[in-house]
């Protein structure tokens, strides 16, 4: 038998545990906390595996959350001393060596959730390097090491997603489902109703057209000049995939890589590190025309057939005069439903569409978003890294640059 003290300590720990999960971004409400306590009461704490499984079944209802849950569980219940050490470390700011090793293996989101007070200090000040002119013919093969996602970024992506969803509106499908405001008669349902009423036809049932979630194809430029934005954009691509849209993601610098499968990993951080390892041309030169040609030839017919919306994230800084960029853009335009171009370069004051590449691409774009969405993408990264964020207003007025 457990003493009263033990029980109340467990309950306290459970509440703290749930609050940490919530801060780390898991949808854990008060109801779940009570469920978790009940689950623990039912399973007991004698066997750690059962205890963990019971908590996980209640608190992590999505495979995306398993990794975070498991780490939090490890910190909280596997090693009580570790938790104390972690808390002390994070609060004091000094990191003893053993704790440092542990810290590296933990997700950034969880670390932040454990130390909400010191979150501001955590953000490193970083000088933004302006590398807009690093286009080159040379193919630079480099590995990319993405930082893990922070809490602030996570909520920023969610925010961004809400706006972006409206860009990719649902399309009417040719499928029907029964519904009271339908346009056609649902004979099968009517017959069922009729049989229920002893053969009396009271009212014909109707069916209406269903809507199909949009198919979105994301093409992300990962050349040197775009290195600030690719990470945020990939997070965005990953989040978009969890909303029910069919998302095909491609990245290109000097070559085109399909990363759709990788992006299906439920955990955003793991998906991005897989992508980082797979793609070989990070932060190198740009061959937009050639990459688009490759996309048109190899993938266009495979992923664009269902009325897809194409979102192209690129600065358009292609200086290869030989390229048939305009022609490839036109082909892309004619084979998709909508071509949206997000161009982060436009956040720089005094931008004009002077670059030859941009001039050749612009006529074929349905929607050119220099200001709002891209600057939120760009600013997001800027704000998180440098700590000041007054850019948005400055560039949102530049919507007419196109």
């Amino acid at each position: 038998m457990r003493s009263q003290d033990d029980c109340s300590q467990l309950a306290g720990n459970m509440v703290l545990f749930c609050r940490t999960l919530r801060r780390a971004g898991l949808p854990v409400g008060t109801g779940q906390v009570i469920d978790a306590l009940n689950a623990v009461a039912a399973v007991g704490v004698e066997r750690r595996q059962d205890f963990r499984q019971a908590l996980r079944s209640v608190l992590a209802s999505d495979p995306r959350h398993f990794r975070l849950f498991d780490q939090a569980f490890h910190v909280f219940f596997h090693n009580q001393r570790l938790l104390e050490k972690m808390m002390a470390t994070l609060l004091s700011g000094s990191v003893p060596e053993q704790a440092q090793a542990e810290k590296e293996t933990l997700l950034r989101r969880l670390l932040e959730a454990l130390s909400p007070e010191s979150r501001e200090n955590e953000e490193e000040l970083r000088v933004e390097a302006d590398r807009t002119a690093t286009w080159s013919h040379r193919e630079v093969l480099r590995q990319k090491d993405f930082e893990e996602m922070s809490l602030a970024e996570q909520s920023a992506v969610k925010e961004l997603l809400r706006e972006e969803i409206t860009l990719c509106e649902k399309t009417a499908s040719r499928r029907f489902r029964s519904g009271s405001h339908g346009s056609r008669y649902d004979l099968r349902r009517s017959m069922h109703n009729m049989m229920r009423n002893n053969g009396q036809l009271i009212e014909l049932s109707l069916k209406r057209r269903t809507e199909r979630p949009p198919v979105v194809v994301l093409l992300c430029d990962i050349s040197g000049s775009m290195s600030h934005y690719s990470r945020m954009f990939l997070h965005f691509a990953h989040a978009l995939g969890t909303t029910g849209c069919t998302v095909h993601s491609f990245v290109f610098g000097t070559r085109l890589t399909n990363i759709s499968r990788r992006m299906r990993d439920p955990d955003a951080d793991r998906a991005l590190s897989c992508v980082a390892a797979d793609v070989r041309d990070w932060d190198g030169g740009t061959r937009i025309g050639e990459s688009l040609a490759r996309f048109n030839k190899d993938w266009g017919r495979r992923v664009l057939a269902q009325n897809a919306t194409v979102v192209l994230l690129s600065d358009g800084l292609e200086r290869d005069p030989e390229t048939d960029l305009g022609f490839q853009m036109q082909r892309l335009k004619t084979s998709c439903r909508r071509l949206i171009w997000l161009n982060p370069v436009l956040r720089y004051a005094g931008f004009e569409a002077k670059a030859a590449g941009i001039r050749r691409m612009l006529p074929h774009v349905d929607l050119f978003l220099p200001a709002h969405n891209v600057s939120s993408l760009a600013n997001l990264v800027g704000v998180l890294k440098s700590g000041h964020g007054a850019r948005n207003t400055r560039y949102s007025a530049r919507g007419a640059a196109a």
């Binding site: 499908s173 017959m191 049989m195 002893n198 053969g199 048109n296 057939a305």
Partner: protein, 304 residues
């Protein structure tokens, strides 16, 4: 090789498969013959992918013809639903039955009878599960990539268990599984769950020898020399960086066109004039027409 059902019995080895296809004027490479043999022996659906015009659909036609089976074809399109793919209740007939029963004063017990087999209209998928005189039919599900994902999900039950669940009636199961051929042009990726239930084969463009035999059989009206030239040209053309490479269907069209034009040898002018039979995109035609075509022709002559 005649079985009890009246149809031809299934081939016992790979050579017999090639013979069988050959009798249907279909020249298949060893790899394709292998996968067809396995599909027939293992009773598994066969998913064929490949560029347009490489003869995917024709395989089903030939199998049905040479095995003496019925061919049931389902052409897929977006929004294809149960009512047009599998079954539909015969509502007018049900309605009449109810009214008749009412008139005879036995409306209460009509409920069980109007959801009987008599009132069911079988569409291709359900027909494929029924018993056919010549043995299990060949079910061709053509261009599956044109259908939407909900339809694909619906196919899963049919492809793994060869049965259909009809809520009002129960489960209809095939006494003998049909031979299922599914084709896709890859305008959309077919879902993994469906791929898992099928044998998969990517139908390639044929090599020189295979294509020669195909043209011999399908377009006999041209001379051997012209045949050699035109196939050589098409084979070279497929190596070019084109948006859409010509398939076998295009080769045959071209061969027949050249026969109609009474051509004896390939000349640059003739190639330019008839290039539209091989290439279906203006950019591709513009790229090849003229000097490029002449160069390819010269290459073939040298190769000879």
């Amino acid at each position: 090789m005649v079985d009890a059902g009246g149809g031809v019995s299934l081939p016992q080895d790979l050579d017999q498969v090639q013979d069988l296809l050959g009798r249907g004027d279909y020249i298949a490479g060893r790899d394709l013959a292998t996968v067809i043999y396995l599909a027939l022996r293992m009773g598994r659906p066969l998913l064929l992918e490949g560029e347009a015009g490489v003869g995917k659909t024709e395989i089903a036609n030939v199998l049905a013809r040479t095995l003496g089976r019925d061919l049931i074809r389902l052409q897929c399109y977006e929004g294809l639903d149960l009512a047009s793919a599998a079954y539909e209740w015969n509502y007018p007939r049900q309605m009449v039955a109810i009214r008749m029963a009412e008139a005879e004063g036995r409306a209460a017990d009509v409920g069980s009878s109007i959801y009987g087999r008599d009132y069911l209209i079988a569409r291709p998928l359900l027909r494929a599960l029924e018993t056919h005189a010549g043995g299990p039919p060949v079910l061709l599900i053509d261009e599956l990539d044109r259908a939407d994902e909900p339809f694909e999900a619906f196919l899963l039950e049919l492809l793994s268990d060869f049965q259909l669940s009809i809520p009002e009636l129960g489960t209809v199961k095939a006494a003998q599984p049909p031979i299922v051929i599914i084709t896709s042009n890859r305008t959309r990726e077919v879902h993994d769950a469906l791929r898992r239930r099928c044998l998969y084969h990517w139908v390639e463009y044929p090599d020189f020898g295979t294509e020669t035999r195909i043209v011999e059989v399908k377009a006999p009206g041209i001379s051997a020399e012209l045949r050699r030239q035109l196939i050589g040209f098409v084979q070279e053309l497929r190596k070019q960086d084109l948006f859409k490479r010509p398939g076998i269907a295009e080769t045959l069209d071209w061969a027949n066109a050249l026969a109609h034009l009474d051509a004896v040898t390939l000349q640059p002018g003739l190639v330019d004039d008839t290039l539209g039979l091989l290439l279906k995109y203006q950019d591709d035609i513009a790229k090849i027409r003229g000097s490029e075509a002449a160069q390819l022709l010269a290459q073939i002559q040298v190769g000879h």
